[in-house]
Amino acid sequence: MILLLGMVLWLVFGVMAASSLLFRHYHDSQILGITLSRAHARQPEVQRVVRSFQRACYLVLALSALASGVLLIPVVQRYAEMSLLVLVMLNLLANWCVISHFQGELRQIKEKNQWTYSRKKIMTVDLSVTREKGRSGVSPFWVWLFLPLSFAPMAVLLLHPALRQRCPLGMSLIGPLCQLLAIFLYYQMRNRHVRVPAEKTEQNLQLARREERINSLCATWCALAMLVFWGLFNLAMLYAPGGFLVVVPVAVLTISLLWIARWQQKKTREAEDALLGTVSEEEENLQEDSSTWKWGCYHNPDDPRVFVPKRIAGIGWTINIGRPAGKAVGLGTLALIAAVISFVAYSGSQDYQITARGDQVMIDAAMYDMTIERDQVDAVSVIDQLPSGTRTNGYGGMEKSYGHFYFDGYGACMIYVYNNAGSFIVMRLKGTDPGYVIVNGQTGAETQALYQTLSGWLAE
């Protein structure tokens, strides 16, 4: 379990570092989110800042990896999930501080050299380029083909009902939903606004065609990565219970998306260098866009769009918090994150309360309370080890696990256990959903006392 948490943590650190490093390339007329012309971006002092930023990112990654060693301390392991969250938050904060610091250095360089660009919000559109939109991209056939293919796990579950215990049917809808999102991304990427950096239409057309090809190819690869992830994820869920191998498809998807983002940046940069090498700074029509970005989000009440392309990686979308709908989406996302963090913190800190009173056993556990009637219970026994199986819906932490699980030889179970207590009480019920309830105390002695109580209660 600790190895799995460690892998997840390093994957998160790696993704954060790679995302920050993507920030350093010249893309959409910006480095680290600071607007610079192509000539200014090549200046030695700017390149020096970029190199320092790169070193700082590697340093944050190394320090974070070192800090993850605290998970090996037994006392910390008791609060492993909370520690994981704290480490991720600290890593996020460190990366944010590094980016802010070097953004400040770039602003100082701009100020010192008086590199100022227009602050007027001028949208430049070449009618010939707009008319050609959608003609140079990769065919949408592929992304539409991936949609029916993503239903394959659902078909397998429909044909083999026994497998639904390991992977619920409802979950198999997630893949097709993600593919629909990928199709949406494809059309957004293919039709995204291309800058009009030159006065000559022919130059603008060539650049637009190249960018549309690159963007649509990236969106198609994203859809393919999503499909591969979905296939691997379902294989891991069905044939490798325990959850360990689930990390592999997640890692494959994350690394693929980062690679695609990097490839897109590189190819766009190369296309711009090849086609716009001779375009002067005045022609580039650069505009400071810092006024439309607030707290790291796009903020433009005059723009009717709720979802807008990100300004950094060129792949992915962000919300316009200047619009009421954007505010609602942003606050909703924050509330969801807060709810997940609160759930993990609350679940990790609460102990189970199991009480036998009258004809009932009452189990008090966060969000998974349960009452068992005496006539529902067939038998009570003690086992030394939890059988192998998977979590269907519940909480699975380092110290304890509870909720709906599916165990080999038992079927659907409700469990309320401290993972490292050494012994577990199994209550066999008359129904099948759940067929068993497994509980224990924090220590072997507590489990034994609980077993005596439950046996006595059943014998009454």
Binding site: K120, M123, T124, V129, R131, G134, D303
Partner: protein, 130 residues
């Protein structure tokens, strides 16, 4: 032809689109029969509501600058010379501009020279592009 739209300016965006297309036709940057992007294409590229572009196209259609048909979309229409190109509305708008310039302190000579330069600019561009 390149449109440059001031997204934060006082002039409505549909008016800016209309004005620049009229200027493009007058200076020969847009030729007779040249197709314009569809309303959706242009709105998506600018990042505005399709209604904004639709409003500009409707104005242009009413003025006879473009024709819209189902098969070919919007196209620059052939110029139909009017019997009286300078109507009362033209006189009103031109007089207003001249009055504003005078109030700002422009002398008659300066203003005449400036207007002649603008006329040359539009007509010469048209000749060069032809």
């Amino acid at each position: 032809m390149i449109l440059k739209l001031d997204m934060a300016g006082a002039t409505p965006i549909y008016q800016q689109i209309r004005n620049q297309i009229v200027f493009g036709v007058a200076t020969g940057q847009l030729r007779v029969g040249e197709p314009l992007p569809t309303v959706r294409q242009l709105a998506a590229d600018i990042g505005v509501n399709p209604m904004t572009v639709s409003k500009a196209y409707t104005l242009l259609k009413e003025e006879g600058v473009i024709v819209i048909d189902r098969r070919h979309g919007a196209q620059i229409s052939p110029v139909c010379p009017r019997e009286e190109p300078m109507d009362g509305e033209f006189d009103d708008r031109a007089s207003l501009l001249i009055s504003e310039a005078r109030m700002k302190g422009a002398s008659e000579e300066t203003l005449k020279a400036h207007i002649l330069r603008l006329i040359d600019d539009v007509y010469r561009r048209k000749e060069v592009s032809q």
